[in-house]
Each structure stands twice: as structure tokens, then as C-alpha cells.
Amino acid sequence: MATVRIPTPLRTLTGGEDQVQAAGDTVKDVIETLEKNHPGIRERLLDDKGVRRFVNIYVGDEDIRFLDGLATVLKASDEISIVPAIAGG
């Protein structure tokens, strides 16, 4: 089961949790699990073309764009980070 680090803008969907556990063999599977447990999160991460262009998803320190994208295969110990574009200060 992968650990998914949830950035602040998405924590309204996870009840304030900054990290959650989600099952899945691939990043796409994990996002589907997230959607079941936290409805609405998939739409914030994906559009009909794949990962939204102002969201980046990392497995460990690797951007999934440079792995196999949403098909990236996960190990149980993997940590997934979501880095959205933010503007503020």
C-alpha cells in the first residue's frame, strides 16, 4: 500500500489528513483508490488527457512524466507526492 502525501490545497478532500494510504499496483490505480475514499480528488489531479498540466506527481523523487506516467508500477514502500502549482505570498 502506497503512502500518498497530500498538499494543503487538497486536504479539504482528505479530512485534513496530510498523508493517506492507498492500495494500487500503479499510480492510476492509487488515484482510483483515492477517489473511492476521498471523492473529488481524481478531478483535481486528472483531466481527460491525463495528469492536469498544473499538477505534478512524484514517486519518491521521480516525476512520473519521466517514469511510465500513470502506468508507473509501484512498490509497497513507495511514497507518492503531489505538487500542485500555487501562487500566493
Binding site: 502525501r5 498538499p7 494543503t8 490545497p9 496530510d18 483535481r44 492536469r52 498540466r53 498544473f54 499538477v55 505534478n56 512524484y58 523523487d61 516525476d63 512524466r65 519521466f66 507526492s81 505538487v83 500542485p84 502549482a85 500555487i86 501562487a87 500566493g88 505570498g89
Partner: protein
């Protein structure tokens, strides 16, 4: 990074532009001044508001209603350890002044509160071949991205283009926590000082800070193969107004 005497001497001959004298720009400018950067250019057109004071550390209650640039200039001269010059640009960072401002300095620190300015700054800095440090903070989350003059990776490698529509809530809704934005502003200055002193290792790094857990993670980015700004297939060659329509705060 800490600065030794020779480094401070080197910084005396360097210059930096701070885009946005807000929660990020205030601590960043203060750190640059204290480190001995010889010329600091501040760009903003706003007035000090009482709602700014919890995070915009160059201002106090007596500054409310004053021009931010004048209040910041006074605070920086009061704090600076060495003689240095401050130039004030009482304007927003706009398509008409972006390239001229970028090429006037050795490094740019971008702490804007909107995506339009972020992308404009990224584009202007690449077109003028200037390194840029992008900072952002919303609620408990902050990011700092350091980009080389030649990009690869650049801000557009990471986020491609402006988020638009309902997916981008505004800053007033999102809110900004003082210590989180202070951390990010100080880190922006730290990265800018590294750049000014010739340390290329910071280029292409994204620091993501979580103020709830107080954890900072550094990710090393890769260039996007078809980046519109910095790849061989780039399409952005000029600054045009229509590319920078307003959008704000967080995905």
C-alpha cells in the same frame, strides 16, 4: 548558506530584482540586504495594509496606508549591514516592463501572488537569459524553484501554462500563514545568493515545504522535452499581453 567576507565582497557587485514586496519579497529582500548584495531592485505598486503585517516583515503598524516600496526601502536601509543601493519600481511586473527589468539584474526573485505574473517572469527571465527563483506559499504549503538562465528545467517545464477557471481558487480564499511564507522567502534569498556566488547545484531544484509537518523536501526536476519556453521546440519567443491573463492562487 552563510556568507564569508570574500563572498560578501563579491556580492557587493551583484544585483537582484525582487518581484512583489509581499510575504515572500519582504524576507527575501531583507536577507539579500543583510548578505551584502550591492544593488536591490524592488518592484510593486501596492500600499501597506493592516492585513499584510503578520507576514510582510518589513512593515509595521505605522506603515499602514504607505507606499510599500518607500516603507520597504526605509526598513532595508535601516537593516543593511553595508552600503548598498535600492532602486524602486512603482509598478506591477507587466509585459511592457518585464524584459527590461529582468535584464537589469543578475538574478530575479519572483514572489508574485498570481499565476500570470509567475509565467510572465519565467518567460522574461528565459528570454533575457537571467536566472530566476520562483517562490509561492498558500496556507501551509510553500514551494521554491530555482531556474538557470538557460532553463531546462524552467517553470513551464513544471507547470506548462496558466491554470484557469474553477480549478484556481483565489488568494483571499486560500490565505497565507506567516511562518510558512517567511520560510519560503528566506529560502528564495538563500537560493539567489547561491546563484550570485556561482553555485550551479541549486538550478533545477524544487523545494516543497509542508508547514503542518515542518518537512521540506527537495526534488530535482528534469526538463520537459517539448517545453514551450526552454526546449528546442520552444514556441515562446516574445512577450505578448494575451499570454498572461489573470489566474490566481492554487490548483
Amino acid at each position: 548558506m552563510s556568507t564569508s567576507s570574500p563572498e560578501r565582497d563579491a556580492l557587493q557587485h551583484k544585483s537582484a530584482l525582487v518581484v512583489g514586496v509581499g510575504g515572500l519579497g519582504c524576507p527575501a529582500a531583507l536577507a539579500l540586504a543583510e548578505a551584502g548584495v550591492g544593488r536591490i531592485v524592488l518592484c510593486d505598486d501596492d500600499l501597506v495594509d493592516s492585513s499584510n503585517l503578520h507576514r510582510q516583515i518589513l512593515f509595521d503598524q505605522a506603515d499602514v496606508g504607505l507606499d510599500k516600496l518607500l516603507a520597504a526601502e526605509r526598513a532595508l536601509y535601516r537593516a543593511g549591514a553595508r552600503p548598498f543601493s535600492i532602486e524602486l519600481v512603482p509598478s506591477r511586473f507587466l509585459p511592457e516592463n518585464a524584459r527590461k527589468l529582468a535584464r537589469s539584474v543578475d538574478v530575479v526573485l519572483e514572489g508574485a501572488d498570481n499565476f500570470a505574473t509567475k509565467f510572465l517572469c519565467a518567460d522574461a527571465c528565459f528570454l533575457e537569459q537571467r536566472p530566476v527563483v520562483h517562490g509561492a506559499a498558500v496556507r501551509l504549503h510553500a514551494t521554491v524553484l530555482c531556474v538557470a538562465a538557460q532553463g531546462a528545467p524552467c517553470y513551464r517545464c513544471l507547470f506548462e501554462d496558466l491554470p484557469r477557471g474553477a480549478a484556481a481558487p483565489n488568494c483571499a480564499e486560500a490565505g497565507v500563514l506567516g511562518p510558512v511564507v517567511g520560510f519560503a522567502g528566506a529560502l528564495m534569498a538563500d537560493r539567489a545568493l547561491s546563484v550570485l556566488l556561482g553555485d550551479a547545484s541549486v538550478f533545477g531544484t524544487l523545494v516543497s515545504f509542508d508547514g503542518k509537518t515542518d518537512r521540506a523536501r527537495e526534488l530535482r526536476l528534469a526538463a520537459r522535452a517539448r517545453c514551450a519556453l526552454c526546449s528546442a521546440e520552444r514556441s515562446i519567443e516574445t512577450i505578448t499581453d494575451d499570454r498572461y491573463t489573470a489566474a490566481s492562487c492554487a490548483a
